[in-house]
Amino acid sequence: MRKLAVGLALWLTADASVNVWGATLTVTHPQSIQAAISRAQRGDTVRVLPGTYHETIFIDKDDIRLQGVVDQGKWPILDGEGKLNDGILASGHGVIIEGMWVRRFKGNGIMTQGSNNYQIIHNVVEGPCFYAIFPQFGRNGLVAHNIVSKSEDAAIYVGMSDGIDVLDNEASHSIIGIETENTRDALIQSNYVHDNVMGIAVTKLAGLPVKTAERTIIRNNFIIANNTANFAPAGAITATAPAGVGIMILGADFTTVEGNLIRDNNSLGILLSETTFLITTPDAQMNPLASDASILRNVFLDNGSNPTDSLKDLLAAAGRSKGVDLFTTGKGRNNCIADRSAIQSVGATRFGDCAPGATSTKVSTARPPSPVTAPSYTAEQKGRLTYMAVCTGCHTYDSRLIGPPMVTVKALYNGKPQALANWIAKPTRKRPDLPEMPPQNYLPPEVRLAVANYILNELSH
């Protein structure tokens, strides 16, 4: 029966990302979703029936499908109650996360770290949270048909990834609706991005391990009324995001903007500049300029009617009292505009004219035609990935953030990684001046030990 199910699943599923499917484990409220994930084997589907679940889900196995079932309008809801850090974390390859309503997690709604060949589809993710959907360090990913809102940073944030499609999502009421950061080959298409501080951002940021951001296509999106006042914490990297901007291209290269409706963004339609225009973190390994951009035919309506203060001053320096469709510092190389007479611009005198008939429509997907290699991560890699994904939300090395600094943890557990691994599964309150640490028992024992080993034996700053 299992073989038949596998064969049937392979035949029905034409998606290149799916490798193999096995058994189906059904979770009925109030059962634990994580318990089912823990029992699941590679290729299994975990179906979650409607109900409200209060847990963090961690998927570090390959080819697991987490499938929420919506029955008569009732959803499976993953609710962090404002107490848990993260909703769904995945580091396995070939993971599919779909049909889940994720809300009220302090950190991230759905996050993947180092996962290849993943799909995050048909979910609802509500903040407040850090990132609603956050795949990072992955290749061949699909983020589609999600409704995301109320993130303190980007609602959909693709970080340091390759070959990612971001399609048909609604992203709203966040600092940035959709962002790709230091990512190569991405397609951001047919999304509805509205009521954020900034609509869509394609960025090459300083101080990250990946030093390039190239070949993003922003196409056929509705980028409407992104005028929310910036509510990021002071000093945060997103605190510099100016309100009222439809699309920001910050340092990224070979970006194409085509076929979008960019409307009612009070500051600017498009802002195109070098990284150092907003980000002052030094990084001499990186070329900060935004070059080889193609601003093709888009529809700009009623942008720039009431620019935010910082942009207003810049526009005034350029002799403008209102915002424009395209504002650029003019530092990049080989940028072009198609039909420049149709848009108002500042700083674009060195932009060339795009070749007649230039279009990105030949590119139907940024994902590779077949699944990419899915390497098995070593224990050391899992330790580092999990530390970054889970621990750094509350801890830094030598300062108190929310929890104590890691130097303190290292001193307490020196030479005792298993003791540390055991403790983080069921933490007890050690200091009255610090909040209680949520249990990390959703992490498998071997992952907890890997994190403990990393903290005690490798982490040095």
């Binding site: 180092g114 990250l208 914490p233 150092t276 002052t280 580092r384």
Partner: protein, 328 residues
């Protein structure tokens, strides 16, 4: 992107006009980090003891508390010597150096978790500098060193200021002051004035006064005049890289190698060697990258007090590359 021992990178000033979120006094992820801005700084009664202490602490550019105390002490010295332009200029230089270091620490604090501390430090030191600036404007308004030091101070204290209009004005005024200063004394402030001017010219958008071609000329001239200034060398190499002259950039970076590392602002030297190493990586010159890295490693091994500027992970950013485990 560190500059030199007394001046603040003009590049950061050009970005100041969009740093709209960094208003002082707002909350951050470490809400009590402002208390880390406090440091003990007893002020000696004796004038000479005070002066020697101020001089000594000003060399501790790797330690923000010592440097902050140096700024305080130089503020006292400047009040005590109100009629001396030389003391005012030296004091303003130390305060600018301190502001510059705090700005750098803020830049490296990727998610601003220590923002209250940085804000508090800037708020404390800026008025000291403004008082000195006001005196210099009366005492020696047209002296090249006075013009240069006032411009560099203004660029430093406005770098993290939320008001875009004010930052833009400062940038414009700084360009004028630095042009005037360097027209009268080309190598004023050891080439740092020309360096700051070059950055403003090269980095500012043209609609707000930038002139990239002029910036290339200015930094080229600075490189010829101040060949021992690591900040000048490294920025010249960066500009040549941006202008697609990698061979010229690499040759320039090589001139960092024979510079002495036994005196002067060693923290700045370490920072410029780091940036030089990274620029060599960008140029794909592995041997030069190694030479610069080795020189820096030797310096750091001999001076453990120097800051390595290593990334610390916080809020899902920073730290080592989680896939390779390496620094980047």
């Amino acid at each position: 992107m560190r500059n030199n021992n007394l001046l603040y990178p003009a590049l950061l000033a050009t970005s100041a006009y969009l740093i709209c979120g960094m208003a002082y006094g707002q909350t951050s992820r470490i809400p009590d980090s402002a208390s880390d801005a406090h440091y003990d700084c007893p002020i000696p009664d004796s004038g000479e003891v005070l002066r020697q202490k101020a001089l000594g602490l000003a060399t501790a550019t790797y330690d923000r508390n010592k440097l902050g105390c140096a700024a305080d002490l130089w503020g006292v010295l400047a009040r005590q010597a109100e009629a001396s332009p030389e003391v005012q200029i030296q004091a303003l230089g130390v305060i600018t150096r301190y502001l510059s270091e705090v700005n750098t620490l803020w830049d490296l604090d990727l998610y601003g978790i220590h923002a209250p501390e940085w804000s508090a430090r800037l708020q404390h030191a800026t008025p000291l500098g403004k008082a000195i600036e006001a005196r210099l404007e009366k005492l020696a308004p047209d002296l090249p060193a006075s013009l240069a030091s006032r411009a560099l101070f203004d660029l430093a204290w406005t770098a993290k200021q939320a008001d875009t209009a004010a930052a833009l004005k400062v940038s414009g005024d700084a360009v004028r002051q630095l042009k005037l200063a360097t027209s009268r004394e080309k190598a004023v402030q050891g080439g740092n004035a020309m360096l700051a001017l070059a950055k403003l010219e090269y980095e500012l958008p043209e609609f707000s006064g930038g002139d990239p071609a002029r910036g290339v000329d200015t930094i080229t001239e600075a490189f010829q005049l101040a060949a021992g200034n690591p900040g000048v060398i490294r920025y010249f190499a960066y500009v040549q890289t941006q202008e697609n002259h990698p061979d010229v950039a690499a040759r320039a970076l090589k001139t960092l190698l024979p510079l002495p590392t036994t005196q002067g602002d060693l923290q700045q030297m370490a920072d410029e060697l780091l940036a030089g190493r990274d620029l060599a990586q960008r140029l794909q010159d592995k041997s030069l990258q190694k030479l610069l890295a080795d020189k820096r490693d030797t310096l750091l091994a001999a001076h453990h007090e120097l800051l390595t500027r290593a990334h610390t992970a916080a809020n899902l950013h920073g730290g080592v590359d989680p896939i390779t485990g390496k620094e980047y």
